[in-house]
Point group: C2
């Protein structure tokens, strides 16, 4: 993996990641938990412009299992995705989906949310799984402490995460996979600093900031990122995991974050919430029953070029599966275009102005 | 509407229907109940080759309502479908979906399965609704008696249906809509004959045979069609409503049927049953867990050209929405190709041979 920073505009960075494809950063990664973005065919992702997707190790390990994916030639070939794939380590899902888990210095034992079977993840094992998936970017195993935890617990958790990171840094990796370390530490500035300095000192290809979007306020999130980013090396990509709302992305690009992922555009789409620059639209509103206009008349997506709000509302009310596809295409196009506008603004040295005007516009909408 | 019979091979007919598009017959119509085929985008239907779809008056009348569809320019424009649309009359759904209904000589009163509201359909009203939808083919209101009913009840029901048909034949229609009459009469040969002779004598553009696929055995269905078809005019298209399995379609083309519709390819797809010439595949079978081959290596559909059985099984098990799209594309391609092979066989005067060999092949498969 190579990383080139092409241009900065204050702290915002325009850069490139060389994986299986060239990825223009700042980039948003759609979430394809099971190896495919929900309700989309893989080619639709390419049609929008995406060539990097995130998939979930926890889900794919439990079903269909690494043996199946390996036998079918890896995740890209299995799902016929023409692009690069970042996989998370499974750590976050172990803590959010499994109803029984036990962390030891060695690793984490957990119960499958699918069939109740028991499994054990270690830092070495989750990297091996991701290498066998042929992930382009593998993430290290970490523990993501709950937002509500007291500092002493977060500190203890961080020590385990840092120990796991040290072990991860020793794992031999194939040439085709990059490995990213993860900064934790909750909302505690000194813990974040300690974590950032340690992770930055290890030989990872990129640095992620984890433990965001877990219940803290937007301002706490921004403050956490601001406090961490000063300790991160300039020559590695920086990834804010699980972030976020368009507003959050614009803010964090301003602090120097390069990569994002979030279920928001795809999950909101399936719930009828559609993104526009003038705020979000809730397609079930009666006001759209006979509305001939597209979701957003300035949008260039297939959905906006083909269908009225009235038809989309009809599909949503009738629970037609096509609605989920059409809404997902629109929301992911919105995010893609946003990243493109951000890149353009950094290129033109006017990111600050773009950011201000964007955050102002997004205040309106019906939801 | 124009209808040209180009060629016959014994009773099988190769013909053409001139609607908004030219429709090659024998044809299968995918079911797009709410104005769209479940899990497909409208362009995918065209990509497979379909240019005629069936939609349901009952559903569209209840939601989004004729006012909405009319305000948006009719059903084709509303759903952005580049092809022709046949709408059923709503009669069948009133009898199968509404939990409360009362038939009078005037029409049928029923309770919406969506919100419990009461509605009244008359022969004149359902045609008016379909004309306002801009349907290319509108169906007359009929009563479809249950398979289990005694002859005296079926006779009484038929008299109402015939009276409604006479009233329907008097309704003035727009130039752009054809109207088809419907033969009923259950499995009673004399009632079917009476119905066929009466419907054939009216000025309909085509003749449908209703009351099929309602619980009778395949042989009873074939016998019913055989007994009816001798009374039908040769210069009008003949449509077997709600039929059916690939085997049924091949059989009934042999009797002289030109048009078919059925939820089977689309509904079976969503349940994991995939059609092939060597029988149906149940994708959840463990045998496919690591199967690199496509559903059918001879199939030219997007799904078979892009994905393995192993990946499709994974999507099905994970309840990924994309599965429904991919499986529907395959099954509708199977039906489309079947109709194409049927047309070719009639053209080449070898439909009998085709039919025999097809019915033999379809005996195998895992479900």
């Amino acid at each position: 993996m190579n990383f080139d920073c092409l241009k900065t505009d204050n702290s915002a960075r325009l850069s490139r990641l060389y994986l299986r494809n060239i990825i223009d950063l700042p980039a948003f990664m759609p979430v394809g938990t099971q190896g495919i973005v929900k309700a989309l065919l893989p080619g639709m992702l390419n049609d929008i412009g995406y060539n990097l997707m995130l998939s979930n190790t926890y889900h794919l390990y439990l079903r269909p299992g690494v043996d199946v994916i390996e036998a079918l030639g890896g995740l890209h070939k299995f799902g016929n995705f023409n692009g690069s794939i970042l996989t998370d380590s499974g750590g976050f899902q172990v803590f959010s989906l499994s109803d029984l888990r036990k962390v030891t210095p060695e690793g984490v034992r957990f119960k499958s949310h699918i069939d109740g079977s028991y499994h054990f993840f270690t830092p070495e094992k989750v990297l091996d799984l991701q290498f066998r998936f042929k992930s382009d970017i593998a993430m290290v195993l970490d523990e993501c402490p709950a937002y509500s935890l007291e500092k002493s617990f977060v500190d203890k958790s961080l020590n385990i995460t840092l120990n796991w990171a040290r072990r991860s840094a020793l794992v031999e990796k194939p040439d085709t996979s990059a490995v990213f370390g993860i900064v934790q530490g909750g909302i505690f500035e000194d813990l974040r600093k300690k974590s950032a300095l340690e992770i930055a000192s290890m030989n990872f290809d990129g640095i992620a900031i984890g433990g965001l979007s877990v219940g803290e306020s937007p301002q706490e999130m921004y403050d956490t990122v601001a406090s961490v980013i000063q300790y991160l090396p300039k020559d590695k990509p920086r990834y804010a995991m699980g972030v976020g709302r368009p507003e959050d992305i614009v803010r964090l690009v301003g602090y120097g974050i390069d990569m994002f992922d979030c279920v928001m555009p795809t999950r909101n789409a399936r719930n009828g919430y559609l993104f526009t620059d003038f705020g979000n639209i809730n397609i079930k509103n009666a006001a759209y029953a006979k509305d001939e206009s597209p979701i957003d008349e300035h949008c260039n997506c297939y959905t906006c070029k083909s269908f009225s709000r009235a038809f989309l509302r009809h599909l949503y009310k009738a629970k037609e599966l096509s609605f989920y596809t059409l809404a997902t295409i629109h929301n992911l196009t919105y995010y893609y275009n946003l990243m493109h506008l951000i890149q353009q603004a950094i290129m033109d040295n006017r990111f600050g102005e773009f950011s201000k005007s964007f955050l102002e516009k997004r205040r309106y909408g019906d939801s």
